[in-house]
Symmetry: C2
Subunit: 718 residues, 2 copies
């Protein structure tokens, strides 16, 4: 899919692995700890502008102002915690201001435009952005990512696949000669490329790809073909109308023998007139949910010949005579996958945080119904049911944000080891990232829709920003590994680890706990259900039990006569459940651990602890059966947990707006009238509506064409 | 909101209540049992065309053909069960064929068009449809509803609010003189109206409306005003550009005293040139999630004067001197609400059934991954995880379909009693319909998205039909009563009933079970978790316990010193949970009861029983904590339930396609390439994409405008 936003972030880090010899033009920096050096070329950057300062010049809705005045902490402190320090936050705000205040990027609301107009608008803006990035001399990957995202607003930045997949694949998989030939052209946008892997009939299962690249030793060329309709490349972003090159994944055939999927550099459109080259069929796949401005494309080949040198040969090679040279390891690609999935975790947290920001602010502006006779309509956020919709997702957004950072941090710790070819840590990281990608993208999906529904009627309007954010985020459940498939990958690792532990091996890393299954405590034991240690124990016990039970079920199915694949399939619902519990345990534990950071300002640790407690308790009561089934928790514990949730929500209520402000999304990125920082919702809703296409004239042209003759004929008949 | 589809169905029934003296031009017929009389004017109707016969002339995808050949029953038998008999099904198919095969209604896929073009296309089609309905002499309400829905396809039929709200309000709330004045004009589309109630700042809480109608006894006029921006009418369908009249809900003021919201007949656009009348501000509210072709509108007034006779005065009256005459009862409106909500239950079932049909068929066509090394890629539906995504929602669609029928049937049973003013049964019906509306629309929302995600990448394409079906269905969670508010209404009735039962009153109807709370059985007791009686008992026990616990919690909050509103708010999460459990119990019990129908063909009762078992067991395991918390079920019971689900899914697998075929949705209503009856997905996906707007030229015009200069400048720089 057109997952350019997701992979955009990934590109920041991919580059390190791709260019170990320091040749990568994109400089790497960890998001986590490294302080940003002041740029020497920032004279064009605007002054540091925090949300508060920006709003200072405007009239803020009084309800929202009161919320901010009564919060228990300074949101900037949490912003610094979330982004890694005040210097990083300052730089982020500078770059965002630069993008969002640039009059050159202003255009009509994309929601008012047809898909075709949206494509054209974003293309124009993308070209402008590419030029400005050069002019501003933004070379730091993190800087570019922030700037590009801000220009993109609710949508993916243009040339997303070029930046995030095409270039990195060249860096990572091309030989030096190939780099010399193409990199300069690609980096300078003389050629624009995408990454064409998924086919109409083949997604998850790479080995099922049908596109063929058959080596012809006579001419030393590969002949590319699309043998069936299901072999059409389908979905790559920016493929339909924009790219003139692509990296194509195709089945390699030499002397009639198949060698599996390999990457090839293929020109698809003329550099003179942009027409598809002979034998190339290329186009847009049509409108879809989200990604309105992106030309996701299809691509087919009929006997298209490319030189032997166009196979990307850093790892596998084909000699002129057709001799195939195997790659040193097939598992290196795992590192990239881990990174991309860690980024999806981050992005799921961010996307959920955006939706929660919008719904929380609006719930303080919106007044509705009558709680007490004769009194004014209360703010919607004062209804406990509304808190119960939003606060657990507020907590989840924080939890996922911190999980994404940890995943990234773990990856960075091991990345030099991985890039040297020591991949011992990869299976663990791979399994962990798969489950967390699935968990966080699923929950973000559900939570964003819950936030939209919590905004009542106006949540359906594109003015709320929520439908667009949702439609652009939901593909995270499918791309880069369909979520159920992801959970089953995690489960496979859990089963393997569990069996190793049965055989006496000591497990390490995220599965270490499987070595020591806790006994079920006596039912009479009383627990403090607010204690984070006790909550982590409960999640650990649940995960360990569900892993154990899935393993037993798998064994039962085998003993009942099923072969391994059938037994696995028959157990798969339990396996997904176990992998989910494992992933949830990791998230809860990670959140609790991050709170022990000694650098944490004491004024914010109390409120963050409440969020962590709420996250754990809400996960516990919504899955209470898992904890009750073997008697680990009692009914009394669960009832206690429910009461604690109510108490926590009441305590979080006055800090809710400050907690979403701390995510530090400028209005230009939220793109939501309901979620405006200044809370001036209603007048802007009206202005927005008045500017929409049907209102260009008081009487729509269709009246003259259709309605008038109809009405007049009806009148004449009476 | 533009909920015309929902209310369209309701209009069928509303008419009975509106026109007790047989003056209603729309004839009523129950959907449930009454056989259809053959029409005398059917020569223009096409011959009965079942799905099977239609597909007979086409090549059906071999996988799908095999599915159908191996099912255990004839899907037509279930179709007859679902729709109420073979005659009704025959008539339905005739009308659908008539609409779907009419070349006059053909147009470009709405997904290819801008909102403005969609509006224009549907307006044109709506005018045509209105003429054809006259020409075909379709006067039966059920016939019209079927025909109009088929013409609408995935979207609401045009003039939805006119037919479903404007006309019925005139029938129901106008005096005879008012009817004489306006009905003929409205029925013949000389005036086109909508129903303007919701305001920008006011939805759920009717008394909060701000629009004023101030009586001026001097001129015997009402002066209409929009005193604030939040008083703008907002959302009414067909208001923005189409309607020239509306029924306006406004606060009545006489001699400075407020009498609450009342309905007024207000002209808003000129009948000569369609321009807004002086003092009227009207327009479209802009693009939104779903309802692309509908001109949901805003409306404001500045000193607009209407004659006293324009207040709809069947119930309340204002005399010329300003004397206010109260209505006989304010509860009569409850009847209409029950009916509309019963229809939302029906429609939730239907919408979910559409999504399940699409995903199930596609899951048999789609082959993916490798289950066993060397073997062909299996049909996706053979993965147990895929079954676990779809089959519970297949079962829920059946359950909700039958619930909707029962609600309607109960309403019909009591409707003559209600229309005579005996409203004793209304509180019970009202509470039941509120909870069921919320439950079914929530589950349909979740289920439709689950179905979309179960279709992998192609689920995101508008070619799948799923994004559009979802966006058009999801407002059901908000309109006609926001779901959480609905659940709390049900909870209020449950609390009242529970307290009555504590005081020794014997309860009747859907809450009778609250009188007799079952004891928790001994833990050692073993259960057959497939027994429908035992499953109903479990759901009943859970509902009764949660009602009891919510009542205890409410009492505790009061005893802790909170006043009633604060105590209610503090308990509201538990109250929603209790109302949900009550509603789920009703659905499960109703499904089980419908299976005892002696007319049920034995060949289909086995498969329907499996669906009912699956529905109950899935509800049980996903809420297992509720059953375990007080020890009603044991961990062993829940584990047994999970195993039964696996077994039931394996048994349902060969019947899955037949079970969705039985819903009898023609392709023209599914509007889904993935869900085509013939399963020829891939070639049509390609054809559809090729026809999409960006592919009108091989090289898009934006290349010349933006991309070419960019590429050439970059090349020149190298």
């Amino acid at each position: 899919m057109g997952h350019s936003r997701v992979i955009d972030l990934a590109a920041t880090f991919l580059s390190q692995q791709c260019c170990p010899r320091g040749q990568c033009p994109i400089k790497l920096r960890s998001t986590l700890r490294a302080p940003l050096q002041p740029h020497t070329h920032t004279k064009e950057l605007l002054a540091h502008t925090s949300l508060t300062k920006m709003a200072g010049t405007r009239t803020v809705n009084p309800d929202l102002r009161k919320e901010r005045e009564s919060s228990s902490f300074d949101p900037d402190k949490i912003t610094n915690f979330l982004y890694g320090g005040p210097e990083i936050v300052k730089r982020k705000r500078e770059l965002e201001s630069l993008a969002l205040n640039d009059p050159d990027y202003q255009h009509e609301d994309l929601n008012f435009l047809s898909n075709e107009q949206q494509y054209e608008t974003q293309l124009k803006k993308g070209i402008l952005m590419t030029k400005k990035i050069q002019k501003l001399n933004l070379t730091d990957a993190q800087d570019m990512m922030i700037y590009r995202s801000a220009v993109g607003g609710s949508d993916s930045p243009s040339f997303g696949l070029h930046v995030s997949m095409f270039l990195p694949t060249l860096y990572g998989q091309a030989t030096q000669e190939q780099k010399d030939k193409w990199l300069k052209l690609a980096e300078n946008y003389v050629i624009i490329g995408t990454y064409a892997q998924t086919e109409m009939g083949h997604g998850t299962f790479l080995r099922g790809l049908e596109t063929t690249a058959t080596y012809d030793p006579q001419t030393q060329e590969f002949v590319i073909n699309t043998p069936t309709i299901t072999a059409y490349k389908w979905w790559p972003g920016q493929l339909g109308k924009t790219s003139n090159y692509c990296v194509l994944m195709a089945q390699l055939y030499i002397h009639g023998k198949s060698y599996g999927p390999h990457p090839f550099m293929v020109q698809i459109r003329s550099l003179q007139d942009h027409k598809p080259l002979p034998g190339v069929i290329v186009g847009d796949i049509g409108p879809k949910f989200g990604y309105g401005p992106v030309d996701n494309g299809f691509l087919a080949f009929h006997n298209v010949r490319i030189p032997r040198e166009n196979m990307l040969m850093k790892y596998s090679k084909v000699e002129p005579d057709g001799t195939y040279v195997k790659p040193p390891s097939t598992k290196l690609a795992y590192g990239t996958m881990v990174l991309i999935r860690a980024n999806i975790v981050m992005n799921s947290g961010r996307a959920l945080a955006k939706a929660v920001t919008i719904a929380t602010r609006y719930s303080c502006v919106r007044r509705q119904s009558e709680m007490k006779p004769g009194q004014p309509e209360p703010q919607v956020l004062d209804y406990v049911t509304q808190q119960y919709k939003l606060f657990p997702y507020l907590a989840a957004a924080y939890a996922f944000w911190l999980t994404g950072q940890t995943m990234m941090s773990v990856y960075m710790t091991f990345s030099s080891q991985i890039s040297k070819g020591d991949i011992s840590v990869l299976p663990e990281l791979h399994a962990l990232s798969a489950g967390l990608k699935a968990l966080t993208s699923w929950v973000a999906n559900m939570g964003m829709e819950e936030c939209r529904l919590a905004c009542g009627g106006h949540g359906y309007s594109h003015a709320s920003g929520l439908p667009r954010h949702y439609a652009n985020q939901t593909p995270g459940a499918t791309y880069e590994g369909e979520n159920t498939v992801m959970m089953l990958q995690t489960a496979r690792y859990l089963m393997k680890s569990y069996n190793q532990s049965l055989q006496g091996e000591k497990l390490a890393g995220s599965v270490a706990y499987l070595s020591s299954v806790q006994p079920v405590p006596a039912a009479s034991r009383t627990r403090n259900m607010l204690d984070l240690g006790a909550l982590c124990d409960a999640f650990r016990h649940r995960a360990a039990r569900l892993v154990h039970e899935a393993a037993m079920q798998l064994r039962n199915e085998r003993q009942a006569g099923k072969d391994q694949p059938d037994a696995w399939n028959a157990t798969s619902v339990d396996l997904v459940k176990a992998a989910m519990a494992h992933s949830q345990y990791f998230v809860v534990k990670n959140f609790a651990e991050r709170l022990t950071d000694s650098r944490l300002d004491s004024s914010i640790s109390a409120v963050l602890t409440r969020l962590c407690q709420l996250h754990a308790l809400h996960g516990l009561v919504t899955n209470s059966g898992d904890f009750l089934e073997d008697g680990y928790l009692t009914g009394t514990d669960v009832r206690q947990a429910r009461r604690h949730i109510n108490t926590l929500m009441a305590k979080l209520r006055p800090d809710a707006v400050a907690l979403v402000d701390a995510f530090d999304f400028p209005d230009g990125i939220l793109n939501s009238i309901l979620g405006r920082y200044d809370g001036n919702v209603y007048q802007h809703l009206l202005e927005w509506a008045k500017a929409s296409p049907l209102n260009k004239t008081d009487v729509h042209q269709s009246y003259h064409k259709y309605l008038k003759p109809f009405l007049e004929a009806n009148r004449a008949k009476l």
